[in-house]
Each structure stands twice: as C-alpha cells, then as structure tokens.
C-alpha cells in the first residue's frame, strides 16, 4: 500500500513537472544538458568513465522508455523470456548502450552541433519523431539524427534513435535474434553483463575492442 502511494505520488510529481513539456523541448533540453555537463567535466569523465556512465544514467536514461525498447529489441524472444530475464536484459542492454556510446560522446561532443527541425505534432497524438541534423564542424555533410518518442502517461519518452534512417532498435533486433538462436538468451545477457560483447578475433572486430 505504501508502495502504491509512493508510486502514485511519484507519478503525480512527474506529471506536474513535465506535463507541459513538448517532446522536441525535452530532447533539446536533455541533449544540451548533457553537452554542457561534458564540456564542464570533460577531463574528470575521461579519467573516470564510471562517473560519466553514472551521469548519463541520471540525466539521459530517465527520458528513454527502457522497458519498451527492451521489448521491441527482443521482439518474438520477449514472449518466451521469463520476467527475470526481461528485467535483466533491459538493464544489461541499457548499460551496454551507455558504455558503447560514452566514448563517442566524449570524443565528438565538440565537433558537431545539432540543428533542430521544427516539430509537427498532430493534436492528441501520442507518437512523434523529433528530427535534427548534426552539423559537422569539419564541413562534411550533416548527419541526420532523429528521436522517436511516445507518451508514457503524461511524459514523452524516447523509444528509438534513427541515424541516417538506420534505426537503433531494428538494428539490434536483427543482431540479438541471430545471437539468441545461436547461444540462448541467458548467454546473451551474461555476455552483455560481463561487458565483453564485441567478439575479439571474430570477423569484423579488427578494430580491436578496447574493453571497459
């Protein structure tokens, strides 16, 4: 009962705070927040990556619909997964994403600038895409980057990132499906949890995976 109450009040607070925020405002706010945090603490984050992971977890992750993403990435494997596997998968997948993009964020935060496109939002809709173009300061053609968002309760949450029409969710779905068929969901989760998801020595990993 207390838990119910806590949940309810949390939901109420969330509603009161964010009800007015449009999806593109949310994405813009979060990304500029992250960008300024990186600019301020660049050296500290580089020295202690775990600190940066924690920051991303605090600032960015709450705006992602993690359970929904986990479910759509697992696709038909979701049905066969136990409740415990689902939770573990969502957690491990989220951590994997943070870890694999953290380096790129720290590396390139200064060399691109997001140009946001106006959002056309149909009234009463609960699904939208926020478009932007990443302008590269070296003059190379801009990179199209979009965020698919939907409403969870009263709050807009990101459920896919699309780079040059390549959807993160679709891309991982194909990979996980092949891998789960080969070695099973538990093995896949274990591999993600261990942090060793790139296959050293396997075809395509000649870039040399630099473990965390």
């Amino acid at each position: 009962m207390t838990r119910m109450l806590a949940l309810l009040s949390a939901a109420l607070i969330a509603t009161a705070t964010w009800a007015a925020e449009a999806p593109d405002e949310m994405v813009k706010r979060v990304s500029s927040q992250l960008q300024s945090l990186i600019a301020q603490n660049h050296a500290a984050y580089k020295a202690d990556l775990n600190k940066f992971y924690a920051t991303v977890d605090d600032v960015v992750v709450p705006h992602f619909d993690v359970p929904f993403i986990a479910r759509s990435v697992l696709a038909r494997n979701w049905r066969d997964a136990s409740e415990e596997q689902r939770t573990r998968f969502a957690q491990a997948f989220k951590d994997m994403l943070i870890r694999s993009y953290a380096n790129a964020l720290l590396e390139y935060h200064d060399s691109v600038e997001a140009q946001w496109k106006p959002l056309r939002l149909a009234p009463e809709t609960s699904d939208a895409v926020v478009h932007s173009a990443l302008i590269r300061k070296d003059g190379k053609p801009p990179v199209n980057l979009s965020f698919a968002v939907h409403k969870v309760g009263d709050e807009w949450k990101i459920y896919d990132i699309i780079v040059e029409n390549i959807s993160l969710v679709q891309n991982f779905r194909g990979q996980f499906h092949a891998e789960i068929k080969r070695s099973g969901l538990d093995a896949v989760i274990a591999r993600m949890e261990s942090g060793a998801y790139g296959k050293p020595g396997a075809a395509g990993s000649d870039g040399g995976s630099t473990g965390p």
Partner: protein, 230 residues
C-alpha cells in the same frame, strides 16, 4: 489434380519450415564467408594503406581530393535525378556541378555547399528502386562490400556514367585508387562501432538496407510495418 496436390504439399512444407528471420538474405552463409574474406583483405591491405594515407597526407589536401573526386562523379547524380523524374533537383544539381567545376576550380573547392546547395546522392540502384524494382537479395561482394541484386546491377550501369570510364587508364587508375583509399580513410574509426556489435555482419546488413531505403526515399521513407512477431 496433380498441381493441386503439389500445391497442398508445398503449403504444408511451407508451414513446417520455420520462417527464417532474414528472408532478405538467403545467401547468408556465403555472404558471411565473403565478409570474413573482406575483413582479412582489409586488415592486411586496404586499412594499412588508408592509415598511411591519413598519416602522410595533410587533412586539407585529403579533403580537397575528396571534393575533386566527388565533383567528378556528380554527373552520375544528375543523370539519375533525370531518370527518376526529379527535374527540379536535376537543375539544382547541374548548377551545383557547374558552379563547383568553374568557380570551385574543377571541384577542388566546394562553393556550392557554402551557399547552401548541399550534395545529393543518387545512383542507378536508387533509380531502379524508384522504378519499382525491389531490393532482391542482400549480397556481400568481394572487396566491394554490402549490396543487393538491384544495387549490383545499378553499380554496373553507373560505371558508364562515370567520367573515369572514358578516361585513359593512366589517368583513371591512379584517380580510382585515390578514391578507394580516400573512401576507406573516411571509414577509419568506424571499425570501433562494428567491433562493439554482437554480430557485426548482421549489423552491417541491417544498416546497409535501412540506409539505402533512406536514400531511395530521399530521407523520408514511409513507415515500415514494424513486425515484432508477437
């Protein structure tokens, strides 16, 4: 009657056969072998050459070379604009080409982009798609990388629109070589992303097909049916 029985048998067989997850890739085992081969070739030849190129040639000269080669190839885009009925875009691309070839000193500079006339990318694979040709199978070509039946045909046709095809070999071959090395050099660093994937081959396949889809629809593909298989 006989064909009826055959149809029933095929129907049953169709049901019994578990659906493959990647129907777009019936040649997967072969493609994976080619992919492994390409990686080895890349590791021992192309990547070291590209790294040497980046190390030896200053960035400014490298981007000048990229711009020059990109401009040289631009008539392909214009031709495919026309073949796809994008006449306004063809006009803009022609102006862009003329501008960069003249004021841009043969494409060494890119004044068109500075005034907001950004580069478009059209090729005969996209033209075929606009004409209604489907992807066909996903293919992993030796040395050339990911493609599809349709894009392979498109590549073959585009060769004829490439100015270097009509140039004498002593001009064409060095320029072609620089183009290959330059393209590879721009991809240095992306192996990191590939290496961190669960299944780099599946990643590349999905990325290639989605990226092509984006190009075919000029960045606004109709939403795909998102089949979760639930």
């Amino acid at each position: 009657m006989r064909s009826c029985i055959l149809a029933v048998v095929m129907l049953i067989a169709g049901c019994a056969h578990s659906p493959t997850y990647a129907p777009e890739d019936p040649l997967e085992p072969v493609n994976r072998a080619v992919y492994a081969f390409n990686n080895t070739a890349d590791r021992w030849v192309l990547k070291p050459v590209a790294q040497a190129y980046v190390a030896a040639v200053p960035a400014e000269i490298r981007s000048t070379a990229s711009r020059f080669l990109g401009n040289l190839l631009y008539p392909t885009t214009i031709l495919n604009d026309l073949l796809q009925g994008k006449f306004a875009q063809a006009g803009r691309d022609t102006t862009r080409f003329l501008l960069n070839t003249s004021f841009g000193l043969g494409g060494l500079l890119d004044p068109a982009t500075r005034i907001g006339w950004t580069e478009n990318r059209e090729d005969f694979g996209q033209t075929l798609a606009v004409w209604g040709v489907g992807d066909g199978w996903f293919l992993m070509l030796p040395f050339l990388g990911p493609s599809t039946n349709r894009d392979l045909v498109g590549r073959g046709i585009d060769v004829f629109a490439h100015p270097l095809y009509y140039a004498p070999p002593e001009v064409a071959i060095p320029l072609e070589a620089v183009d290959i090395v330059d393209t590879r050099a721009q991809l240095l660093g992306t192996e990191q992303v590939l290496a961190q994937q669960f299944d780099p081959y599946a990643f590349l396949r999905s990325a290639y097909l989605q990226r092509r889809r984006g190009l075919i629809y000029d960045g606004n593909p109709p939403p795909e049916e998102d089949d979760w298989g639930e």
